[in-house]
């Protein structure tokens, strides 16, 4: 570990005790706008760069400026970091820095904190001039006293005021200083990261932030009796660290796509924020349409006339785009749609994670509209999913939907730096004449694939239509033509399916329970399985990247386990609840799909808590499922 010269005066006291931990989970929470997220992001990035496994997630209130000092208004980050790789946000937080007691209460009430958590709490509220605030402080302290937290009061505001007249602006850097001291983070790395985070601000802002950082470190060194060591493991290969939306954005750049049309929607928009900064350098246009429909329409127009284009959205926006998605399937215009899922239905939980768009992604349109649906499971897969999606869309003249979610969008994780390849890039448009006599949909009768002609190509002129059409794109209502054309559009999925790999089994190749997951839950599921296996439970898991078409071999894999159960962040009825029977029970979305496709009795354990699934809960669900199976009811 890089030794940090802690700038402490000569009155240095007794050396603090150093607690060594294989991993630790911390949170920084504040009112919105106080910068806790920036502090958390910098801490996460620095930890990754120093060689810790890291998973960072944002704690986001739904409003931009929720009322200050409210439990619901908690805003910030959770960072779970360890000596080995970290694949999910974990269970409970071990150390919290809270800017007021109310946001701390919010986290406490959600059960986010370990019972022995260390809490560094801003204490200016205790002596606030407003008696209501002092009363709220006292009340909160007594509620918090029910747990065995170790609460350390920190005079953050008082300290910050010594160098800045607006402590609200700088508290986050002071907090970063506290954490930098406690976890012995590299000062050089932090400075680098602060410089990058505030690259658009003045040198003065940078220097003030460094001052506040040092102040936090000094205060911690002078007042804390502990430090925590989470040994680092300097990476042996080049890594990059970013969140899922940045990874999607970089995937776009690596895919060579040049046109994005979008409409702002949480939690998808930050992909566009990233692209808005850099896309034009890469020859790209990010067009903010007048609405969700216009956005997908413009993407389709661009794709029809050139390189595969894409749109970015989330559930409510996806719903609006469905007519156009069916149109793109019908007219075989390649198109990539990124859906960063949030809680639904309707406006739902705009900033919170859910995996409830799966069936909509597969079936939202009236009519038969087969398309490809893929779900990245990690930040790294977000990057690669876009490249793959572009290639599939072009090869099969089809729509490819990427289902990310709010967990991946704000989760930050290091991963091996991609070695960029030219073949990932969309080739330059070939506007040479089309083959004489080539029809607009010259379907390969076995595969359903066909070459497309693009405006500008002499000899390829045709009128594309969403009406039922024949190979010549002529409107044709005849039963035979519609049957054949529909089969051709569907056949492409079967062809793609045959090129896919069977999912790898995590754990033993057979056993009592197989957990099936998709999307961002992979890390938590595998950790839950690992803990269960450590107890001797015969559980394994698979994780599906392709949801349409489904990967091969599922039925055979399922047959090796006594029970198959999906774990998903969407709703299912709980057995035992009033009126819920085996017959009427509504199941998780992947479970429904797998039951239909494999005729296996796939059970599900799903929750919609508005947060990522905790590995501990999954572990318990696995244990309960296996105990039920063996007749030993939990």
């Amino acid at each position: 570990m890089t030794a940090v010269a802690i700038p402490v005066g000569p009155e240095l006291r007794i050396a603090p005790s150093v607690l060594k931990r294989p991993e630790h989970t911390i949170e920084i929470v504040s009112d919105a706008g106080e910068g806790a997220q920036k502090c958390g992001q910098i801490f996460g990035a620095v930890s990754a760069k120093m060689g810790n496994g890291v998973w960072t997630v944002e704690i986001i209130p739904a409003e931009i400026q929720p009322p200050p000092r409210t439990a619901e208004g908690a805003s910030g980050n959770r960072i779970r970091f360890g000596t080995g790789p970290i694949t999910n946000w974990g269970d409970e937080t071990n150390l919290v820095v809270a800017f007021n007691e109310q946001v701390l209460l919010g986290r406490h009430r959600l059960g986010a904190l370990a019972s022995d958590a260390i809490v560094l709490l801003e204490n200016s509220w205790a002596s606030h001039t407003n008696p209501d605030i002092r009363a709220a402080w006292d009340k909160a302290r007594s509620e918090l006293a029910a747990q065995s937290y170790r609460i350390i009061e920190v005079p953050m505001e008082e300290q910050c005021l010594t160098i800045d007249e607006n402590p609200r602006k700088g508290k986050n850097m002071f907090a970063l200083g506290l954490l930098a001291y406690i976890y012995d983070r590299s000062l050089e790395r932090i400075e680098e990261q602060i410089a990058y985070a505030f690259r658009k601000k003045s040198e003065e802002v940078y220097q003030r932030n460094l001052g506040l950082l040092r102040l936090g470190m000094e205060w911690a060194a002078a007042n804390l009796d502990f430090r925590i060591e989470v040994p680092t493991n300097p990476p042996t290969e080049a890594l990059v660290v970013m969140n899922g939306n940045e990874a999607l954005g970089m995937g776009v750049l690596a895919s060579g796509m040049e046109f994005c049309a979008m409409y702002p929607i949480t939690p998808a928009t930050s992909v566009s924020h990233y692209l808005a900064e850099v896309f034009s350098k890469f020859g790209g246009i990010l067009h903010q349409g007048e609405d969700e429909i216009a956005a997908v329409g413009a993407a389709i127009g661009a794709s029809y006339s050139g390189k595969v284009a894409f749109t970015i959205t989330s559930g409510p926006g996806f719903a609006l785009k469905t007519e156009f998605i069916g149109f793109a399937v019908m007219t075989e215009i390649p198109l990539v749609i990124i859906d960063v899922q949030r809680g639904g239905p309707s406006t739902g939980l705009p900033t919170k994670v859910e995996q409830s768009d799966l069936l909509a992604a597969l079936f939202a349109e009236p009519g038969d509209a087969p398309r490809v649906v893929i779900a990245p499971a990690t930040i790294e897969e977000c990057f690669h999913a876009v490249i793959t999606a572009r290639q599939i869309a072009e090869t099969f003249r089809t729509v490819v939907i990427i289902l990310s979610d709010a967990n991946l969008s704000t989760g930050v994780q290091p991963f091996p730096r991609p070695q960029l390849k030219k073949e990932w890039l969309a080739p330059e448009l070939d506007l040479g004449p089309v083959k004489t006599g080539q029809r607009p949909y010259e379907w390969d009768a076995r595969m359903g694939t066909s070459p497309r002609s693009i405006p500008g190509q002499p000899g390829g002129m045709f009128t594309l239509t969403g009406l039922s059409h024949d190979e010549g794109s002529k409107v044709a209502y005849g039963a035979g033509v519609h049957q054949h054309a529909t089969a051709m559009r569907s056949r492409k999925l079967a062809v793609l399916q045959q090129t896919l790999l069977r999912p790898a089994i995590n754990g033993d190749q057979d056993g009592d329970l197989l957990v099936v997951g998709w999307g961002s839950t992979k890390g938590a599921i595998e950790e839950g399985v690992e803990r269960a296996r450590a107890e001797g439970i015969r559980a394994s898991s698979i994780h599906l990247t392709f949801l349409s078409p489904l990967q091969p071999g599922l039925k055979e894999i399922f047959s090796r386990f006594r029970k198959v159960m999906t774990v998903e962040i969407n709703y299912s009825d709980q057995p035992g609840d009033p009126f819920i029977t085996e017959e009427n029970r509504r199941r998780g979305q992947l479970a429904m799909l797998l039951r239909a496709q494999t005729l296996c009795d796939v059970d599900c354990w799903t929750r919609v808590p508005g947060e990522s699934l905790r590995p501990g809960f999954i572990h318990k669900a696995i244990r309960d499922a296996v105990l039920t199976l063996t007749g030993d009811r939990p």
Partner: protein
């Protein structure tokens, strides 16, 4: 591509396009439908301007008039109801080298696609947008459209249309960054053609409302205007629509300077008579397509740039 037709081996300059080079399937509109005359005028324009069929895209929505692209032999995009303009926006932003024409009906443009219409005016992307306005939903058989006259009986408002009709000219002229607004009528072919030509030559978003008869559902709506040319007022100006063929028949005229937006709005708002001509033209308006021109980037440059991006995120 390895397969070459003979035609494209010729120099562009040597290719000469005749009417037959633009003609697609036989039009299936009703006899007497105004769409036929509009198709003829458009074909005439394509020949006159010698537009390369492969460089020309006609985008339409859904409705009778949106069958338009099928009857041409250019690239055609018969899309979704109300959504022609977003598609055309995508085409033109990604492929500024293409000539883009948009064909919409009154339901398409002024009702289900109204949001796109307003924003397309503001984007002011170089394309010709034709509103084929027959004041009725034809394909779905006589329902009230936004431009149906008040009191006109339809299948959805059988006791007469409740509200005064939406005025597409006022709406367009009232929108920020409007750059070209004209009105013409399908039964005045010389004016129609001259208007489309002016629209095509305007560097920006040209909005042309074409008054159109529907022989099935709005018989008689323009009977007086057709029989009595004097009831129509032509807007005249040296910078306006110039069609000398009309001099002997259309004698009711008003001078209107198309650079005068206030006058254009007043004329558009006055519903006491039908006016044909150029209401407004301003070539100096901001053009979104010109503001959104990214550089050409080679594969190697792309990879180098992305590596620089990754450097920011390197551990």
């Amino acid at each position: 591509m390895t397969h070459c037709a003979i035609l494209p081996l010729l120099d562009d300059d040597e290719r000469e396009f005749a009417l037959g080079d633009y003609e697609g399937a036989t039009a299936r509109w009703c006899p007497g439908c105004g769409d036929h005359s509009i198709l003829t005028a458009v074909e005439k324009l394509l020949v006159a301007e010698q537009l390369k069929p492969e460089q020309t895209v006609f985008v339409s929505g859904i409705g009778c008039s949106s069958r338009f692209p099928h009857y041409l032999k250019t690239y055609g995009f018969h899309g979704l109801h109300g959504r022609a303009l977003p598609v055309a926006t995508g085409v033109k932003l990604h492929r500024p080298d293409l000539d883009v024409f948009v064909v919409m009906g009154d339901g398409d443009c002024c009702s289900i696609g109204a949001a796109h219409w307003i924003h397309a005016i503001r984007y002011n992307i170089h394309m010709v947008a034709m509103l084929l306005d027959n004041s009725i939903y034809g394909l779905t058989k006589k329902q009230t459209s936004p431009t149906t006259p008040q009191g006109f009986k339809t299948n959805t408002q059988p006791f007469g249309s409740f509200l005064p009709p939406l005025n597409p000219l006022s709406t367009t002229l009232g929108t920020t960054n409007v750059s070209f607004v004209a009105q013409t009528a399908e039964w005045v072919p010389a004016h129609l053609y001259a208007t489309l030509r002016a629209a095509y030559r305007h560097p920006g978003f040209s909005f042309v409302r074409i008054l159109q008869r529907c022989p099935m559902y709005t018989q008689g709506m323009y009977e007086e205007a057709v029989k009595n040319p004097g009831s129509i007022e032509l807007l005249m100006h040296d910078d306006g629509i110039v069609a000398p063929e009309l001099d002997k028949i259309y004698k009711t005229r008003a001078t209107h300077d198309p650079s005068d937006l206030d006058s254009a709005r007043r004329l558009a708002e006055d519903s006491t008579r039908i006016r044909l001509g150029l209401f407004y033209r301003n070539e100096a308006r901001a053009r979104y397509d010109l503001l959104r021109k990214p550089p050409k980037v080679t594969s190697s440059e792309r990879i180098a740039l992305l590596n620089q991006e990754l450097d920011h995120y390197a551990v």
